[in-house]
Symmetry: C2
Subunit: 454 residues, 2 copies
C-alpha cells in the first residue's frame, strides 16, 4: 500500500518531490533525542500548500501515516515516523510569504529556520526572539510550542503566533487566527494547533510577531555555593519585577563540561547567567540593581561581560551546553524538562541535583530559571540497560514531583514519545477530551500517530 501511495504521489505531484534514498530515510528516522529510530517508507518534499493538501488527501484515503519533519532538532522524537509511511519534509517550503515591518509581523513557510528568519528581518532592525538554542525550523517550533532562554521576556511560541495556515487530515485548509494583535472572535485555534506536534494538522504558513532589536545588551554572571541558592537568587530577581532578557542557571558540573569542551575558563561553581536588553540607561540601571541584589544574597564572582565578544562567548557557552556533554564518548544523553511555579524552583533544583549525584552517572542541572523551567541531562551508555533504567527513573521522579507541585512534565520540549507516560498524571480526565479532539480532527489517525497520548 505504501509503495502504491508513493507512486501515486510521484504521479500526481512530480517524481522530484519524492525520495526513498538510503540517506534520506536515515535522516528522517531520528531527531536529536535518543528515542529509538524508525525509518519512513518514503520522504515527500512539498513545495506549497497545495502539495500538502494532495498528499494528505491520498494518505487519508489509504490510511497511511504522515509525520512532519522540520530541522530534525527535536528532543522528544516528535518527527520520528512511528508507523513509518510518509515523512513530510519542509526544506523546500522555507520562504517569506509576507513581511510587514510596520506591523512588527511576518508570515513564513514552516521550513524556514530561526536563523534564516532572523537573517531576513535583522537588517530592518527587527528580530524574532524565541531561541531554543538549536537552529530549529519555525514550523517545528510552533508544533512543539518551543521557547528557550528568552521565554522569561517573550513567553513561548504560542505567545508569538498570530495566525497559522493548517492543512487538516481531510484536506481542509484553515486559518487559526488573524493579523490583529488581539481577538475575541471564535474559538482560539492558534492555541491548540501550537503545541499539537503535527497530530491535529500540518502547518503550512506561520504568522508571528517581531520585535525591535534592543539598543543595548549587557550580560553578567555570578556563582553561588549551591544550586538551591542559585534558584533562590533567581526568585528574588523575578520578584523585583526587573524585565530580564535571559536568566539561566548552570550547575558546576555543566560549567566543567563547557570549559573542557569549549576551552572556556568560567569558575567551576554553580552559576547564574544574566542578560539585560533595552535602551542603554535602563539596561545599566537594571544590571546595577541585580548586582546589588546578588551581593546581598552572598554571590561570588560577579562579572559583567563588557565587550560584545565577551557577551557572545558567555551565551555561546550556555548554548553549547547540551553539546558539551555529548563529547563524552560512548554515552548518549537523557534529559528532563520540568517547569514549576517559581517558588518551588529551589526545591526542584536541589532534588534534581541530588538525583543526578545519587545515580553515579555524569550529568548536570541547568535551565531557564526565569520561568521555573529547568533541565537535567544525564549521560548513559545506550548498550547498558541498567544505566538506561536509572535515567528513566530519574526523569520519572522529576516529572511526577513537578506535577505534584502544580507544574508540568514538559516546559518546552513537548510530549512526543518521552512524556506520553505522564499525560494522565498531569492532565487527569482532560486527556480523554484531548484524545477526542484528536479523533475529531484526524478520525483515521494518520497524522503523526503514536505520539502525545496512548
Amino acid at each position: 500500500m505504501e509503495e502504491k501511495l508513493m507512486y501515486l504521489c510521484m504521479e500526481q505531484l512530480g517524481k522530484d518531490k519524492v525520495s526513498r534514498g538510503e540517506s534520506e530515510l536515515y535522516r528522517h528516522s531520528r531527531d536529536e533525542s535518543s528515542h529509538p529510530f524508525r525509518e519512513p517508507d518514503f520522504v515527500f518534499f512539498p513545495e506549497n500548500t497545495d502539495d500538502v493538501v494532495k498528499v494528505l488527501l491520498l494518505a487519508n484515503e489509504h490510511g497511511i501515516a504522515v509525520t512532519p519533519f522540520g530541522a530534525g532538532s527535536g528532543l522528544e522524537g516528535q518527527s520520528i515516523p512511528m508507523k513509518k509511511g510518509i515523512s513530510l519534509n519542509f526544506d523546500r517550503m522555507n520562504n517569506v510569504v509576507e513581511f510587514a515591518p510596520e506591523d512588527l509581523m511576518i508570515t513564513v513557510e514552516p521550513g524556514m529556520t530561526r536563523l534564516q528568519l532572523n537573517d531576513f528581518v535583522n537588517r530592518h532592525g527587527l528580530y524574532f526572539p524565541i531561541d531554543p538554542g538549536a537552529d530549529a525550523s519555525i514550523g517545528g517550533m510552533v508544533a512543539t510550542n518551543a521557547s528557550g532562554t528568552t521565554a522569561v521576556r517573550y513567553g513561548s511560541m504560542r505567545d508569538q503566533v498570530l495566525d497559522l495556515e493548517v492543512v487538516l487530515a481531510n484536506g481542509d485548509v484553515i486559518h487559526t487566527g488573524s493579523k490583529a494583535k488581539k481577538s475575541s472572535s471564535g474559538y482560539h485555534l492558534n492555541g491548540i494547533f501550537t503545541g499539537s506536534e503535527g497530530t491535529l494538522g500540518v502547518i503550512t504558513k506561520v504568522t508571528v510577531k517581531l520585535h525591535g532589536i534592543p539598543e543595548k545588551v549587557l550580560a553578567a554572571r555570578c556563582t553561588f555555593p549551591t544550586p538551591g541558592e542559585c534558584a533562590e537568587a533567581a526568585h528574588v530577581v523575578l520578584a523585583s519585577g526587573i524585565q530580564l532578557m535571559r536568566m539561566e542557571l548552570v550547575d558546576a558540573e555543566s560549567i566543567k563540561q563547557v570549559n573542557e569542551y569549549g576551552n572556556y575558563s568560567f569558575p567551576e561553581a554553580h552559576s547564574l547567567f544574566f542578560e539585560f536588553a533595552g535602551s542603554p540607561n535602563i539596561v545599566e540601571e537594571e544590571a546595577s540593581v541585580v548586582e546589588e541584589l546578588m551581593h546581598e544574597l552572598g554571590c561570588q564572582n560577579w562579572e559583567r561581560a563588557n565587550s560584545s565578544k565577551e557577551r557572545s562567548d558567555l551565551w555561546k557557552a550556555r548554548h553549547e551546553l547540551a553539546y558539551a556533554y555529548k563529547h563524552i564518548k560512548g554515552k548518549v544523553s537523557s534529559g528532563s524538562d520540568v517547569c514549576v511555579p517559581i517558588s518551588k524552583l529551589a526545591e526542584m533544583v536541589v532534588f534534581g541535583r541530588e538525583l543526578v549525584e545519587e545515580c553515579g552517572l555524569i550529568g548536570g542541572v541547568f535551565g531557564h530559571v526565569g520561568d521555573g523551567n529547568f533541565h537535567t541531562l544525564i549521560m548513559y551508555d545506550p548498550t547498558n540497560q541498567l544505566e538506561y533504567e536509572k535515567t528513566e527513573e530519574i526523569n520519572g521522579k522529576l516529572a511526577l514531583k513537578a506535577i505534584a507541585l502544580g507544574g508540568t512534565c514538559t516546559g518546552e520540549h513537548g510530549v512526543g514519545l518521552g512524556k506520553m507516560k505522564y499525560q494522565v498524571a498531569e492532565h487527569g480526565k482532560a486527556v480523554e477530551w484531548m484524545k477526542s479532539m484528536k479523533v475529531l480532527f484526524d478520525p483515521k489517525g494518520i497524522l503523526n500517530p503514536e505520539k502525545m497520548f496512548y
Copy 2:
C-alpha cells in the same frame, strides 16, 4: 420540563439556591448591550463546583439550556438565555481559592469581580491589570477573553490565564492548564476555553497571573486636528518600542460628551491619552520621549497630569465614556469592536469617523489604539427601525473592512449575539471545525445555546 427540573434542582441542591422571583428573572434577562432581552425559566445560584456538576448533569439529562451569568456587564448579549432554561449566577462563588504571592498567582472563583480581586491583592503590592472598564466578574472576563485599556502592555485575559477548572456538559470536571508559567504538555485547553463564552463548559475556578504594582504612574494627553493623525501618532509611539501602560484615542465628539456628562473641561479635540508606569526614572524618560515625538508630529495641548488626582480624573473620564453617551435621553447605544494590524489603524479610524458623520446620528470613535482595537459608539432611538438599521449597517461595514484588512470583528467584546454574522467572513472553513468542537464538548447543545455560531 423546565418546571420539573427546577424542582429537581431544589430537591437535590437546596431551595435557597433557586429563584424565579420577578426581579431576578428581569436581572438575568439582559446585559449592558441593547440586544433583545430574554428571561430564563429560573436562576440557579451554585455555591461550589459540585453544585455546578449536579445542575449540568440534570440539565444535560433533560436537555435544558444553561447560560452562565457573571456581573451582567457584557456588551454582546453573552449572558442572555436565548433558549430560556437556567441562568447560572455566580454571585455566591466569589471567593479566593488559593493566593500565592510568591508565585505572582491567584486562584479565584468565577463570580469574584475585577475590583474585588484587586482589593484583595493590592495590599500585598500586587495587582491584576486587565481592565475592561466595567467591574466585570473574572469568570465573565475569561469567557469573553476580555481586555481593555491595558492590553497594549498585558494582552488579553488569555495571556493571563494559567489554569481553569471547567465543568463540562456531561459533568466531567477538568483542568485546562497548570501552575507552571509555561508548558508544552498536551493540547492547550486554556486557550479554547478562554473566549468560549460558556458554550464549551462552565468555568468554576480561574488561576491568573498577578503583577507588581508599578512604583510610579504618569499620565498625559494631547490633541491632533484629525482622528487619522491621532492614529498615525499612536503608530509612531508603538514603533518606538516604548512600553506603555495605556494609550487611548478619544475623538472630539466623545470628549464633548465626557465634558458635558462629567463636568470636565478637556479641550474638545481629537485626543490621545497616555499612561506610563514603572520605576520613576524610566517612566520620566518614556514620557519625555513620547512628548518629543508628539510635538514632532504637530500635536496640540500636550499636558501631563502631575498629581495623582489629575491622573485619576483623566482615566476616570476615559472609563466613563460609554456611560457619558448614555445620558442622551431616549437613545440606546450600538457599538463596534474591530481590531486591525497597527498600520491599518489610521485608515480604519478615519473610515469609522466618516461613517458616524454620514449617518446623522450622534456617535464617537474611541479605543485602545495601542493594539489596533477601537470602538465606534452610535446612539439610536430603539423605537425607530430606520435608526437601528443605520447603526447595524455601519457595524457591518466596519467589521467586514477590518476582516478584509486582516483583522477581527471583535477585539475584546466577544461574539455573543452581535458578531455571529461575521464569523464565516472572518474564519472561513474553520467555523465548521469550531462548530464540531462545540458538538464534541456539548452534544446536546445545552451550554449557552444560540451564541457564537449559527
